[in-house]
């Protein structure tokens, strides 16, 4: 049980890293894209826009934490 927990924690650290909000923002952007794509295929801009926002937000928080 402890090994499974350690492996899960390691995998989380490995992928999500220093800021979990980046993963959450990306997941939300993909969900919105998938939902919007049912209505129109011109939804390509959602992921890049969300990526720019989550990255800028993460950097802003890191800079404030100095």
């Amino acid at each position: 049980m402890r090994a499974i927990r350690a492996a899960a924690l390691g995998a989380w650290e490995f992928v999500v890293g220093d800021d979990w909000r980046i993963a959450l923002g990306v997941a939300a952007a993909l969900a919105i894209t998938a939902l919007a794509a049912d209505a129109t295929s011109s939804v390509w801009w959602i992921v890049p826009a969300a990526t720019a926002l989550v990255l800028a937000g993460s950097l802003w928080r890191a800079a404030r934490r100095r």
């Binding site: 220093d18 998938a34 992921v47």
Partner: protein, 251 residues
């Protein structure tokens, strides 16, 4: 070779070279200080473990339906790439300490010297440190090889690029016999972050049903746009750094 395949090869080569440089520093430190035989045995065991992981997960990933693969793996690649890019931007802006292979080598050497007498036969300390170093750095490479390779349905090209990078770094390490401090590691990490995030955006959005203008050619705009955006963020952070209360982030 298509443009996408070239991008795949360059990204994997750069990412793998960066990780190989970091692993080489650790192996050199224990090898020089304690036992080359044990350190190399640790390297061999780690490479075998990494090869087994790649062999097990590679075919499983490529068997997934393309839309599922692009959403799941593209999304993971985007998150992973943004973590690389975030650190690279913080380093370029002076908000995070830069990777210094000489300093890391010095610290690893000091720890190896304090770890007690060298055991006869296989020295457990040297074996474990070399094994852990190569495995942990190698896992990032395996992740990149599998995600890029599976999405492009060309794991062998990604694995070949990774192999070339490891061979080049190993050769350079053997010739130099010291950490490769002159490799522009931070710049390479910046480039890898841009590539991973760009390809991650492209594949994950496509997997969700988005149609990129110009199809695959959209990557020719996404990569430069991501690079430009990252450079703008560096400039903004540098300007903010000039403010009186500036410091260094430890993340």
């Amino acid at each position: 070779m298509t443009g996408t395949e070239l991008g795949l090869a360059i990204s994997v080569l750069l990412a793998c070279a960066v990780e190989a440089v970091e692993a080489l520093t650790i192996v050199l430190a224990v090898g020089v200080t304690r036992s080359w035989r044990s350190a190399l045995a640790g390297v061999g065991a780690a490479v075998a473990a990494l090869a087994a992981i790649t062999a097990a997960l590679g075919p499983a990933l490529t068997a997934l339906p393309i839309s599922v693969l692009r959403v799941a793996v593209g999304g993971l690649l985007l998150i992973f790439g943004l973590q690389w890019l975030r650190k690279a931007i913080l380093r370029a802006a002076g908000l995070k300490e830069r990777h210094d292979e000489e300093a890391i080598f010095g610290r690893q050497r000091a720890q190896a010297l304090q770890a007690g007498a060298v055991a006869e036969g296989i020295d457990a300390y040297s074996f474990v440190i070399a094994f852990k170093g190569v495995l942990l750095e190698g896992l990032e490479v395996v992740f990149i090889v599998l995600t890029f390779g599976a999405n492009q349905h060309d794991v062998s090209l990604a694995a070949l690029a990774a192999g070339v990078a490891v061979a080049l770094v190993t050769l350079a390490g053997v010739l130099a016999h010291r950490p490769l401090a002159r490799v522009p590691e931070n710049t390479m990490k910046f480039a890898v972050g841009v590539m991973l995030a760009s390809y991650g955006m492209f594949w994950s959005a496509e997997g969700c049903g988005a149609r990129w203008p110009g199809s695959d050619a959209a990557l020719l705009a996404i990569v430069p746009a991501t690079l430009a955006g990252a450079l703008v963020l560096v400039a903004i952070l540098r300007r903010a750094q000039a403010a009186p209360s500036a410091g260094t982030v430890r993340t």
